[in-house]
Amino acid sequence: MDFELSDDERSLADGMRRLCEGRFPMERVRAGEGRRALDTEGWSALAEAGVFSLRLADEEGGADLGTAAAAVVFEELGRALVPGPLAATHAAAGLVKGAATGDRPVGLLRRTPPVPGDPRPVLVGDLGSLGALLVVADDGVELVEPDAVGGAPVEGGLDPLTPLWRLEAVPRGTPVGDGPVAEALWRDFLVVEAAFLVGMAAVTSEMAVGYAKVRRQFDRPIGSFQAVKHMCADMLVRAETARAAVHAAAVTVDQPDVGDAVRAAHGAALLAAQAAEANARACIQVHGGMGFTWEVPAHLYLKRAIVLWRALGPATRLADVVAERF
């Protein structure tokens, strides 16, 4: 048993971080604020780097790596706040032709029973940029052609980096998997999205710490005040526990005999979403007035956390799964 990152995993993370620093520095990511369509150039670079295919076998054009490797990669993507339907496309790589190469970006939607009065479902992502929409239910997965879906783009979503569509009606599609496939797809989606969220939680924690070291008030760095110091400590605790949970969930997908991967995935998603939201909030608070400005990117991490969380399902549903399987 060695739950530290392997050398391969470390160099994968380093490589991904370098790619993100080159391709997705914060200025460039922010230049896409309000944009609807996918940045195809950046998307292709990620596809080339194997972000979507890395878990596929060699002969399928993949790198034959595991979910643990995927988690490491998605943590880096989350740190850089890279936009696009990354987790869904990655999770669907084995199921949807063209997903692995990035040629068909995939959207993922859980079919939930309609609630009277509830407004139409919102798709997190740009329907127009998708090559396929996977609709997941307990008993199977259907592939729906995006053209067949009625809907309209939402003008102004919460996160300026994540387009939204309001869907009129989602028709039935082609079945591409049964119950177990649906469970595995959703599990993998949760794990990589949770990894993305953990990367975000780590960045806001580092941003807060960095600011607390340089920002001075009352002739001292604010990080020397226990109120700020302890807020930062709590941020690290949240990020590190969620990170351990996500890594364990990923490894459990790869090594099913070490535990219950479905429980681990749901628990990890819950903690990662909470850590991403709570740390972004704390990051705003540590930055004081500046944290409340558009200029400081803390709010982008907060908004992305909320947007991604909505696609994972409410905390209660995630917790319920853990509670039943604990």
Binding site: D118, V154, G156, L158, R216, I284, G288, F292
Partner: protein
Amino acid sequence: MDLRYTDAEEAFRAELRAWLAEVVPTLGPRPALTDWPARRAYDTSWQGMLYDAGYAGIDWPVEGGGRGASPVEQLVYLEELERAHAPYVGVNFVGLLHAGPTIAVEGTPEQRARFLPPILKGEQVWCQGFSEPDAGSDLAALRTRAVRDGDEYVVTGSKIWTSHAEVADLCELLVRTGEEGSRHSGITWLAMEMDRPGIEIRPLETIGRSTEFAELFLDGVRVPVGNRVGEENDGWRVTMVTLSFERGTAFVGELLQSMEELRRIRSLARRVGLWDDPEVRHRTGQLGAELDALWALTRRNVSQAARTGVPGLGGSVFKLAFSELRQRLATLGLELLGSAGLAWDELEATDGSGPIGNTRLLEQWIGSFSRTIAAGTSQIQRNIVAERILGLPKG
């Protein structure tokens, strides 16, 4: 302890309510949040109506041209305005609640005659130039420099978090006239006309993308010595005096709005079938109990101010609890919306019962993050409570 209003208080309420019922429906629609000139026009015209009806400067002393109402009447006033959905104080905020009261107490007779009536009548709008990029929680570290040159001060430096600077006529400005490092003892209070050369205004976008605040860059701005309120280097005390006007009513409007907000959240939960979820009901009830408690605390703080004439320290206790509550309230609203809470534009319910209120709830949520920061972070408020009320040692 008596929560009933006296006959005099009820009479005041009845008169005000009748007047509001008459005038509020005649007002035009409110301008967009981003249209500052329209907001100025709207807010100052409303202030003019208040003035004509004798309600301007409700809490100002009669000598200063105000109504000299008691703290309880002030509470009634705010309650009725909220009840009638009357316009907010808006761009008149700094003039009516800060600069005006300061000048009323600390200004010369000439300054009072010159500055106070235009505030009351809605003819002049003030903004606040206190905070600086490096002087936030630690306001006494401010560095904007004012150098005396004959009958003028020459002011250079920058200010931040200045609301509606774009449409203000005057700015209450704190400047450093003492030596560097003189902190509280080297600060002077100036009334700076905003049309002077050397003032640059740069809007600062919030996380909700509103341009609520601006930065002010001051480059050799000349302010006449006659615009100084109080003595040179005595500006800290001058500023603090104003705080003694606070009678526990600072958050009355917001608190009453939050109560309405909770009812709206409950009705949303009922509409989308979430009211059966015990957790939603529990959270709603918890927030309701806390809002009721804060309304009780407000009446206690007002009563204390009415008895003693000075504000208690209850304001910090209130603000700590309220700003944190606002965040939980807003979070409940956002969570109830589910994925509908991701859209800024208003969504319609599928059952034809109309808009679901997501825009408003999202605005509330975004706005809630500034609550624990603005006007003294929660960390600073806890210091105040611990040191000034509980007597714990500074550390």
